[in-house]
Symmetry: C2
Subunit: 569 residues, 2 copies
Amino acid sequence: MGERYLASKKILIIGGVAAGPKTAARVRRLDPEAQITILEKGQYISYAGCGMPFYLSGKIHQFEELYSTSYGVKRDPEFFKSERGVDVFTGTEAISIDRANKKVVAKDVATGEEKVFEYDKLVLGTGSNPITPPIENLDLAGVYRLNHLTDAEAIKKALDAGEVNDVVIIGTGFIGMEALDAIFSPRRAVTMVEFKETLLPGILDPDMGKLLYKSLYEQGLEGRFGEKVLKLEGEDGRVTKVITDKGAIDADAVILAVGVRPNVKLAQEAGLTIGETGAIAVNEYLQTSDPDVYALGDCAENTNIITGKKAFAPMATYANRQGRVVGDNVLGGKSTFKGILGTGVLHCMDMNVARTGLGEVQAKALGYDIETITVSTFDMTHYHPASNKIIIKMIAEKGSQRVLGMQGIGKGEVAKRADVAATMINYGGTLDDLLNLDLGYAPPYNTPIDPMVHAGNALKNKLDGIAKTYTPEEVQAKIEKDEDFVLLDVRPPHQFNMRNIKDKRTQQLTLSELRDKLDQVPRDKEIVTVCVMGSRAYEGARILEGAGFNNVKFMEAGMEGWIFDLDDL
Amino acid sequence: MGERYLASKKILIIGGVAAGPKTAARVRRLDPEAQITILEKGQYISYAGCGMPFYLSGKIHQFEELYSTSYGVKRDPEFFKSERGVDVFTGTEAISIDRANKKVVAKDVATGEEKVFEYDKLVLGTGSNPITPPIENLDLAGVYRLNHLTDAEAIKKALDAGEVNDVVIIGTGFIGMEALDAIFSPRRAVTMVEFKETLLPGILDPDMGKLLYKSLYEQGLEGRFGEKVLKLEGEDGRVTKVITDKGAIDADAVILAVGVRPNVKLAQEAGLTIGETGAIAVNEYLQTSDPDVYALGDCAENTNIITGKKAFAPMATYANRQGRVVGDNVLGGKSTFKGILGTGVLHCMDMNVARTGLGEVQAKALGYDIETITVSTFDMTHYHPASNKIIIKMIAEKGSQRVLGMQGIGKGEVAKRADVAATMINYGGTLDDLLNLDLGYAPPYNTPIDPMVHAGNALKNKLDGIAKTYTPEEVQAKIEKDEDFVLLDVRPPHQFNMRNIKDKRTQQLTLSELRDKLDQVPRDKEIVTVCVMGSRAYEGARILEGAGFNNVKFMEAGMEGWIFDLDDL
């Protein structure tokens, strides 16, 4: 295999943030004689875009750390030249591709001077651009984005100057949530405005998004959902208010985070095929419609492994992993990037969020016949002092019992669980497989039956008809429709008194007295058992069924999953 | 499926620690009318054996927490009766099984009184017993085990009384290491004595075990390896010294942790088949040679998923997961437990340890044609303040490039990585699959290319002939054989000065000056490049190869993997 890489070639890479430099590094390692050139219109290269929130929050003190190696060397053009033998041109914007003659024209951003670069293989890592929503007065001072290093510098400057007290973040996707994590402080009023019904729409199912919001709300976040920003208002050129279709919000800083769009202008003008998602169409070798032109990272289209459908998924990990694939292939290799599951993880305030595969809403929209379960559990043995609660939602196909997706939130560890789910979904794993996975157990890491296995077992019980459940949403809907049923709370009084469903249907009978007091439970009504996390309610339901009650269900996830007692939710 | 479970049955379970109670819980949930009985010779049931070290260390304050539910209720016979409808007899030891008449004779441990219990299906969860090594004077006061709750109580009492200053732990398997974690303190001298060559023999490969020891040694642990304990000495009936084949060690407390053996006496006497490992033979339904008798947990034999070979693997997670399988099957189900990968995780002092699948030594002994790599890396983005270093060793089969095993140690997160490895090994995953796994990325959780993917890529580079390496052990062996080669250290001076290989072969030339100073590198000698974590040494090696040097390798894992400058290692 080594031999193949010896022919010297001109590899020209457009874009110097993540995908491009990674490609360059791989090419260099494979072929010491390749001529590698990177064109980057900005002033920084090979920087950690995902690290910007940590710079904002002060967790990273030196701005330079965002574009330094782990051993403290700045990744600037000199570094690329001396350590990698790669020519980097910053402040140099590619403006056209002449595919017939294999040339790229670029201009110096400062002087306007044009230069021509030749290539044997061209790599497009042109990234994405933030979407500019149709909101009036976005040019006011105090309006920020968080997409480029220069954005982070500007916000940090305003934060450090003490100018920022009322922050409005528009958009609650990953970037909006990361901005929230970075700037949230009890000393500031932070409001998030979201056009959809809750946080992280499309990333989490609405039930999970609302549970996340409940936790952040309790810490002081104000969320305004189903609300559309119409315009900004300012004084002396600085933003002072955000005006929505439902009112006005004070703001001395606004962070726009309504998403990004692939940057495909150059590719489009060069006649390369653009996919249905608006990103550059590529095959599994990451080749565009021109076999001598590759595309990767945010500007390139991905394929969902489960559905086979095309997806626009601008995630840093794809850009980096694709760099290796393109590096191989521009030198004649046949490496493949098979696709994505849309795995995402996020730390926001004191919550961890993770998801992979298809959500319930997504899966149903695609026509999958699915069942879901939501379980509340501890992330490690409950007696360990570092244990924390988490909520896991699992989505599986009926019949095949194939796992399609998983979402998790909580103060406890959920990222590990998403990685396990992503790995098993990659192989088409089923709920039975989950029980057989040999996940490592020790008290500081998980429970003897790992939370993922617990979720899988619970969903299997549900699919097998052993566990009959309502979700908290379904229980709330029954209450709202004023249905006649009993909400049987099986917790001991001290837990009941802390928080319960304040409703006329609620009846108390602890699990330990249930067997002896069956006569107190009406046999002519539907019974829905309730506890803190769901497992005792399940026990209670099984006791009642065993005693001949034939219309019994329990509430999944327990009171941990109940969000309907907060006025604002 | 629900219907199948309605026939009422007598389910008798012997053993009340983990496997038994889990089976009982599953049976109860499936069949409200089953008569379920648990016999336990000890006084505690359903307790968290794995939590004992946390009680010892003071992380758990109340002894009761080890046998309480997450909602604070003690799991005693009353709890099992009222909440689960299960009859539990503690202090009741089963002494014989009459399989022909489906009866078990048990005796009251206190009174000696015998009782007879009938069964339709019998479940053996008799656990394991600590091995008593041939050491003289084990009956001295101050000699402890850590296998049962009463052991934990005894050690805790001695610790709290301030009687324990010089502790010797005999054996460095999981239990020995957990004991170390629990009792280590700068105020005590703790010595571990191990007959094999380093920590966690058979669990970690020796190179990884030594790296772990290096870190614990720096914190104050004294390890004595390849040393055999012959006898204990005491005064006034209390232990004072441990005498080995190499000397004497002061000791006012000795913890014996030389492993456990399956408790199969009852099964053997009843004529049930005992497997080659000494544990009770079972099929994938966990049925013994008598189809009405099931065995699970420590007393039952497991099957390794990779090799198909039988294994004795006394791990809590297997006992718990098998409980569900046996619970299903005693009621006529066909659930299966497919086998194990020997996944294990451990937190000890400030180190995390994880392993799954086959180790290098194991794989070679079994005749697999393998390649390994050891990589040093950060567990998350290096600029994140919570990032820590980890070392991952990966083992794959040549040809198929199938991943066979993974081992990780470090202050950073490795348990997650073992779970991912275990999941992919479960499906026969390859190194190419690893690059395609959609693991979640965000700076607080990992690196854009996850450490596991990084390790996989590195091993693939090695198998593909792109990366040519020596392990630190191989470099050390070359030095010891006084071979003629150059150890080219490519780090900047400040890193070199902190720690380097003090040898006449060492030459310094930083990566950034290498391209310009190729004439300073001898062309007639083998060159081995070295850096902190291995990746710059790889770059350096590729630069030299590009410049026509044809005998170049780099040292895997870098100085992070170098253990030969500690006198005691």
